[in-house]
């Protein structure tokens, strides 16, 4: 999923880095609203969680397995701004400490995995949540829709970037077909994992799921007379 060095030419790499830096600057300002003053330690641990969750391999059968990308999941759990900050750090650590994803493509990878992924996922999630009945049980379903969309949209944005500054001229319709079909399938896996993880969390700790807040309602504080409830 990470774009290596040399897939996109230097001007495109620099342009995506500028776009990614701009988006990150906006999200840094907004992240404090999503997690108040606990933002730094919590965002740090959420970043570690995303990194670790990507290491859990989900068996698909016939010896193959897949893993979570986590952009949409992070956006649903902690809000899209914090998710962008966390995923940016995850992508940077993967490139600089694990040589995973090109260093010159860092801006491209941040744009695709930390900006487009979480925001496309969150937009579709919010739309689906508005359409579905206003119940906690709708949240995992909406999250799964968002996760599927985040993978497909990120793949299509990559195709767009490749059309602008790709290494070799590949017929665009063939590339859209190949990347699109492949990522429709990968998106299904992402949706399945996201659905299951969010269901677990909505059942166990709904207060920690940022995207579930509007549908939780407010529990009333009941003060009983004489200490009896």
């Amino acid at each position: 999923m990470h774009v290596p060095d040399g897939f996109l030419d230097a001007p495109t790499s620099v342009a995506t880095a500028v776009l990614a830096a701009g988006a990150l600057a906006v999200c840094l300002r907004g992240a404090r609203r999503e997690l108040d003053d606990r933002v730094a330690p919590l965002a740090g641990l959420v970043a570690v969680f995303v990194f670790a969750a990507q290491m859990v391999t989900f068996p698909v059968g016939a010896g193959t397995s897949g893993h979570l990308l986590g952009g949409a999941l992070a956006a649903v759990l902690v809000g899209p701004r914090t998710a962008t900050v966390c995923l940016t750090v995850v992508v940077a650590v993967q490139a600089l400490l694990f040589a995973d994803g090109g260093v010159s493509a860092l801006g491209t990878n941040v744009l695709l995995l930390a900006v487009v992924g979480p925001w496309a996922g969150y937009a579709v999630f919010a739309g689906a949540r508005a359409v579905l009945p206003s119940r906690p049980a709708s949240v995992p379903l909406a999250a799964a829709t968002g996760a599927w969309a985040s993978v497909v949209v990120a793949a299509l944005v990559f195709v767009g970037l490749y059309a602008v500054g790709g290494a070799a001229p590949v017929p665009l319709d063939a590339l859209v077909a190949a990347m699109g079909t492949w990522h429709l399938v990968i998106g299904l896996g992402e949706a399945g994992i996201t659905f299951l993880v969010v269901s677990t969390l909505v059942a166990a700790r709904p207060d920690l799921v940022h995207g579930a807040r509007p549908v939780l309602g407010h529990a009333k504080l009941v003060v009983a007379q004489g200490g009896r409830l």
């Binding site: 040399g6 030419d9 730094a40 990194f51 677990t200 969390l201």
Partner: protein, 252 residues
Amino acid sequence: MGSGHSAHLHVDGSSLLHRLPPQVKLVGLLSFVLAVVSVPAGSLVALGCLLALAAALLLSTGVAPRHVAARLVVSLPVVVFALALPFVASGPDSALGPLTVSSTGVTAAWTVLAKGLTGILSAVAFAVTTPPTDLVAALQRLRAPALVVLVLSFMVRYLTVVTQELARMRVARESRGFRGRGLRAWPVLAAASGALFVRSYERGERVHLAMLSRGFSGRLPETSPLTARPGEWATALVPAALALTASVAARL
């Protein structure tokens, strides 16, 4: 992509790359890789020389090849993409044995392969010579946004803690007879991931309270500011200068 992340790549040593200040090395790496990417397609001699330079840099760190071999597997997608390019790219066709391939695609395949491998080798050379805490200090010195530096420092600090927690959860599952095969394993693995999120989040809250009670004001103090001599900057920028020269010469 999802495996092999459990251990940091860094290895102690005393090579030239180990001794360069991290912020200098980071700027050197970024500018080198960007200059390599800017080399026009088809200048295969120049790209071959730069690939050899990156390999030499990695060898100069004195790290055992066995240690980095696993990380070089990340280059697999590059190789697959490069192998596919001659068949999918458009442009004039030429014959390659019994097959018809696009000649632009063949040139592009070599270019992508050389650039991708050069990038991976130089990133590995950076990772094996730079302790994770030095990366935090380097980004702080290079004026990265304070929140990003903080998040990165927490990530570096708790990466091992959380991945070990994940490993303990796996041992717990397997000692209860769980064998992850097929789609039926998914709910169990997802529940574990959910539990990991709750534990990470609560750890974040605890750490934050502990930091507040020790006087944390929202900024990471710069305890020992990094310094670099002009000579060190010059050394670190040599590969980038060579790559830029190659890039300009190839266009003439």
